[in-house]
Symmetry: C2
Subunit: 154 residues, 2 copies
Amino acid sequence: MHNCTSHNDCIADALHRAEEICEARELRFTELRRKVLELVWERHGPIKAYDILDKLDNRIGATKPPTVYRALDFLTDNGLVHKINSLNAFVGCSHPLTHRECYFLICSDCGEAKECCNSEITDVISKTIRRNEFLTDHITLEITGECRDCRGVH
Amino acid sequence: MHNCTSHNDCIADALHRAEEICEARELRFTELRRKVLELVWERHGPIKAYDILDKLDNRIGATKPPTVYRALDFLTDNGLVHKINSLNAFVGCSHPLTHRECYFLICSDCGEAKECCNSEITDVISKTIRRNEFLTDHITLEITGECRDCRGVH
DNA sequence: ATCGCGAATGTTATATTATAACATAATATT
DNA sequence: AATATTATGTTATAATATAACATTCGCGAT
Ligand SMILES: [Zn+2]
Ligand SMILES: [Zn+2]
Ligand SMILES: [Zn+2]
Ligand SMILES: [Zn+2]
């Protein structure tokens, strides 16, 4: 679904953006948080907390669930990572400075998640929210199915 | 958030609709499935699987997780109940014949979930999906926050 | 430099959510 | 009635997540 020419660049960019954001906000982008973000960015799709845990184990020795969940909390709280609730998994945010709520197209075949945020969706959802006089905390929009590539569309 | 004059009627209606739908589709609306649906409809908000389990225990003696999850699977598969992924909880569908995908406004204060499905949202989401040549399996739209009543709006 | 503070991480234990696998019972089909 | 199918019961365990407390780290004040 994603056609990054060099995924190493994707990862490097994500880490670099995270650094900048944390510096600007006076947040501590620790080694642990960096490693977890790096693992989240291993591919353009959601990864499970316990898979991150396993990969950390391989790199830095036995790690425990709270370690990973705390790092993920930090990253999601600061918009660097999104939780995909329908999968209990986590994915890197493609544009952490742009906005907080992201919408996703999630391919159940290749496992990739593509952000499909757009103002048209936001506008019409906002309208519904206003009509209901609702005070929004968070919007989850997750669309599962099969992506263009996996469908074999040319 | 909901102003049903008699919630017993809500429950009775939901059970009756379920009966009709199951009959029309030649599905078996068993006692267990009925009881689980009834418990889901105890209020206009999501209920957790293990809370259903506890309430079944009180009514019909020790019940085990698979019993509840299988009944919930049946009910969700047939559009009588929706799973709220952001809460790991289940809520009765207000209009099981109208459509499969429902959008929710979920109040974190009173715990109610209001369906806010409308074609405007569906249309704009569909457009995004088409533009991405995506083949949709399921759409999850969950908006959490504070409802009109809990905000104290008049 | 070291003391003290708050933030981050380590550690142990456990809570919560969900399913696998197999046995039995109920219902439908022949 | 015999057989197949579907639903439920049962045991065990997998997968996801957090509570509670101990230790360490980073950093400013003394
Ligand atoms: Zn890439
Ligand atoms: Zn795909
Ligand atoms: Zn009601
Ligand atoms: Zn409310």
